[in-house]
């Protein structure tokens, strides 16, 4: 990979994250949702893997903690789902209820459903990045193993 590719890949990561977050938070008012946003963010990370190599990409701030982010996402989704129980409502009851007015922040709506979607986003991101990282690690290791094997073979050949 040339310096150029590396530089551009690094520069692209932040915009990709911003796009994905935009798709995430606006999911309730326009196209997109937590799942799609998670995949887009993952693609941004994947770009780093191809451009920088897995060893370097593995050390990127969000990548290292991806599995933990996934767990946090699951916990967020579960708590959104089960908190209504404490108030005596069935699970997955969202707030504000139908008919009530919704707090707006620009075009973004503040809803528990959006919080649930953020949980989905984190989980998808954690799962996909974590999987890519695992595969990349296993792959690197195999190449290292093959290198070691061929070196061993070479030494044997020379001994002969």
């Amino acid at each position: 990979m040339t310096t150029m590719t590396r530089a551009i890949a690094k520069m692209l990561l932040l915009p990709i994250f911003i796009v994905s977050v935009a798709i995430l938070v606006k999911g309730y008012t326009s196209v997109g949702d937590g799942f799609g946003a998670g995949i887009i963010a993952t693609l941004g990370v994947l770009l780093q893997y191809t451009a920088l190599g897995s060893a370097e990409a593995h050390k990127l701030p969000l990548v290292a903690v991806a599995p933990r982010l996934g767990l946090i996402g699951l916990i967020i989704a579960l708590s959104v789902a089960f908190t209504p129980l404490l108030r005596g409502q069935p699970i997955m009851t969202h707030f504000p209820p139908p008919g009530a007015s919704v707090l707006h922040f620009g075009t973004i709506e503040i809803l528990t459903a959006v919080a649930f979607d953020i949980g989905v986003f984190l989980l998808v991101f954690g799962f996909a990045v974590g999987t890519i990282d695992l595969i990349a690690l296993a792959h690197d290791e195999r190449i290292a193993q093959q290198g070691a094997d061929s070196l061993e073979q070479q030494i044997k050949d020379e001994d002969r």
Partner: protein, 768 residues
């Protein structure tokens, strides 16, 4: 809400300890002791605050609710699980580092032990408090899972792994039996709430079957014959595990369940008779086998089987006295037995010996240990001034009320207990010193002394223990009224029977030389024809069956696909046969505005056909993903931008993951598949299969799409409801709100799959 405090504290103990363990390994053990003590304190506090119940339906459609209660029964068993848990954890804090060093293992394994002990404790507290059958089942299984990891803690030892698997299978399969019983009860009463079921229950065949299934599961957990053999094997676990699980917690869960369901059990006399037979067999056979054990822990394991046999026998009497005796017995036994297990662990750790033949005279160098464990042994052997005296007194009282046969059985059983307990204690502590002993750490002595003190205190001031047992017994047997037992210096039958027991016990001890060979032959005979052989044979049989199925299904990709597609095709064919085909295949009008959509679909078609041609895996994956992308374009033209976006993204991530997995395949396999020339005959067969399948799929799709559009579908409702849910994007509203529960289930599955992958791939890396 009071009732939830001990539950939440006990359940959060394991995650908290795990968290502390990741921060500071050395802090795990003290934290675990503290958390267990906190849970114990919470149980005591909640008891003082009056207990109570908490019921909150969370899925009314399925009759599921979070229902917990802190009644007498729950208090007794929760106190056992948390209180003895504290003692065990203090012991383990000193034992586990030594144990790991002994085996040359990394100390990094240490936190895992404490986390699983606390997980077990939390599951026990949940189990004893749960009132909803499904919750009971969940906590029951959680105890089995925690015990699997605890018994198999020394995972590098084959016998530990076998024992862990055996315990998991026996208690896990019996848990499924229990679940069937629960579902039968639900079918009959249309509720999962135990109090409601108890109110409605009437004797009958369904009732008997359901409760018998539950009782079978409970007996397996309490290691009753013939499902007892996992317990002696489980002695492969580290000593604190045996002391906890196999005296006070896991095996106690079985009789707890019997106590919890006793109002139902009580309705069926056949079941009570069955319980008597099982309990009697366990009591007698396990006592005999305990007499001829050569090692410390197996003797105690068989003793546990026998002691829970007593409890089952007392429950089988179906009388107030029997129930009171049984609950009191569980309490007294747990205290004494866990102290004896810990003694065995302390002695083995200080002398490296666990064999009765090589040990002796430890009392000379360890007088305090000898006294403390002597008190515990006296408690198990039912000597006066210990809590054990009353357990036998209540046992005799209950047996006397039933008749002379039961009384004779009770005396014989108690005498056998007396003699193997004597054998255990005297072999270790009396006689000439045969070995040198290392000093015993204070953390070993403290819990043994605490437990021994409780055994002694319970024998002098019996009130608190009796009150616990009476409150617990009243849950099982509402009509129970009992007097606190006390010492009576007269010739009442119970006292005479106790004297007879001691005499008989001493007789058995003295005549050991004459009966030893015969009992040992019996033990060998039991090993040769016992139920463990059946277990091993069926395990081997299941393995063989599994291998046959795997060979048939997983031999190659074709077999794999066949097992999925052929049944699918049969189902679809059944659909064709049974539905009328009239008007099913219509061709509707085609306008110019449909042209982009048609072109996109054409692209999809080309992609699909292309997929069938190449042999290179890379090309196949890429061709397949092109199908997905074209379909995504088709959705975009169809006016579904959200679906199109998701489709493209799904396709992208799927392709990437498949390519990633392909890169992990062995290269030679990929190359072999790539270069393999398919014989001509096979190729024609494949063409034929492909074309038939395509026609089939085509006909199915066409007929579905030709159906007149169904009006008033759920999709239309969703569209109408979306503004109500403050959503302009109906797809997101469906995912996050209307069908949010589905999404929740799906992401949970994704997480579980990820954890599995993490474990598999990381494990491989560690092994290299």
């Amino acid at each position: 809400m009071t009732v939830l405090v001990p539950l939440l504290i006990a359940l959060s103990a394991a995650p908290l300890a795990a968290l502390i363990g990741t921060i500071n390994r050395r802090a795990t053990a003290p934290a675990a002791v503290f958390l267990a003590a906190l849970s114990c304190g919470a149980v005591i506090w909640a008891r003082a605050a009056g207990g109570g119940t908490f019921t909150r339906p969370w899925s009314p459609t399925w009759h599921l609710s979070f229902a917990f209660t802190l009644d007498g029964l729950a208090i007794l068993y929760a106190l056992l699980a948390t209180g003895i848990g504290v003692a065990i954890l203090i012991f383990a804090a000193a034992y586990i580092p030594l144990h790991l060093a002994h085996q040359g293992r990394s100390q990094a394994d240490e936190p895992r032990f404490f986390v699983f002990v606390l997980l077990f404790m939390g599951a026990m507290v949940g189990l004893v408090m749960a009132q909803d059958l499904i919750l009971i089942f969940l906590f029951w299984d959680l105890t089995a899972i925690a015990s699997y990891f605890l018994i198999g803690y020394d995972q590098h030892r084959n016998e530990a792994r076998t024992a862990a698997l055996m315990a998991l299978l026996i208690t896990g399969i019996s848990a499924v039996v229990i679940l069937i019983g629960f579902l039968l009860l639900h079918w009959q009463h249309n509720t999962f709430l135990l109090p409601e079921i108890i109110q409605q229950a009437t004797p009958g065949t369904t009732h008997t079957v359901a409760v018998t299934l539950i009782a079978i599961g409970a007996l397996a957990k309490s290691a009753q014959i013939p499902l007892h053999f996992w317990l002696p094997r489980a002695m492969a676990a580290p000593t604190p595990v045996s002391a906890y699980l196999h005296s006070a917690a896991m095996v106690a869960a079985g009789v707890f369940l019997l106590g919890r369901f006793y109002p139902l059990v009580h309705l069926s006399q056949e079941l009570l008779n069955g319980l008597f037979v099982v309990g009697l067999a366990s009591m007698m056979i396990a006592s005999l086998l305990a007499l001829v054990r050569r090692n410390f822990k197996p003797l105690l394991a068989y003793s546990t089987i026998a002691q829970y046999g007593y409890v089952v026998v007392m429950l089988s009497f179906g009388t107030a006295a029997g129930v009171f005796g049984a609950t009191f017995y569980v309490l007294a036994h747990a205290l004494a037995k866990s102290a004896l297990f810990l003694t065995a662990g302390a002695v083995t750790e200080s002398t490296d010996i666990d064999d009765f033949k090589q040990i002796g005279g430890v009392g000379r160098s360890q007088p305090l240990l000898a006294i403390a464990s002597g008190i515990a042994a006296a408690g198990l052997g039912a000597l006066p001034l210990t809590i054990g005296f009353f357990k036998d007194e209540l046992f005799f009282a209950a047996a006397l009320a039933r008749g002379p046969f039961y009384t004779a059985v009770a005396v014989l059983g108690a005498a056998l207990t007396f003699s193997y307990v004597w054998h255990f204690w005297s072999s270790i502590f009396l006689g000439p010193a045969k070995t040198t002993t290392k000093p015993i750490p204070l953390a070993f002595m403290v819990p043994i002394c605490i437990l021994a003190t409780l055994v002694l205190l319970g024998g002098i001031i019996v009130g608190p223990a009796a009150n616990l047992a009476i409150a617990a017994g009243q849950v099982s047997f509402p009509a129970l009224v009992a007097k606190t037992p006390a010492y009576h210096f007269d010739t009442r039958p119970e006292n005479l029977l106790a004297l007879a027991t001691y005499a008989l016990g001493i007789g058995i001890v003295i005549t050991r030389r004459w009966w030893y060979a015969a009992v040992e032959r019996f033990a060998v005979f039991g090993r040769q024809v016992g139920p463990e052989r059946i277990y091993r044979a069926s395990l081997a049989g299941i393995n063989r069956l599994s291998r046959v199925i795997v060979a048939a299904e997983l031999r190659d990709l074709r077999g794999r696909l066949t097992t999925v597609l052929v049944p699918t095709a049969l189902l679809a064919a059944a659909g064709f046969v049974t539905t009328p085909t009239e008007g099913a295949y219509r061709i509707s009008a085609f306008g110019w505005q449909d042209l982009p959509l048609a072109l996109a679909l054409l692209l999809t078609m080309v992609g699909a056909i292309t997929t069938t041609i190449p042999r290179s895996h890379l090309t196949i994956v890429l061709a397949l993903s092109s199908v997905g992308y074209s379909l995504s374009i088709a959705f975009a033209f169809f006016g579904a931008p959200n679906v199109a976006l998701i489709m493209a993204l799904v396709e992208t991530i799927l392709t990437i993951l498949v390519l990633g997995v392909l890169s992990l395949f062995p290269h030679d396999v990929l190359i072999r598949e790539h270069t393999w020339q398919e014989p001509r005959s096979l190729r024609y067969r494949d063409y034929a299969i492909g074309i038939i399948a395509a026609i089939f799929a085509f006909a199915t799709a066409w007929s579905t799409l030709s159906q007149p559009a169904i009006t008033g579908t759920v999709a239309r409702d969703f569209m109408l409801m979306a503004p109500e849910a403050h959503a302009k994007n109906v797809v997101t509203a469906i995912l996050a709100d209307f069908r949010g529960l589905d999404t929740l289930g799906e992401i949970t599955v994704i997480w579980i799959a990820f954890v599995g992958m993490l474990t598999l791939l990381r494990r491989r890396q560690v092994q290299r």
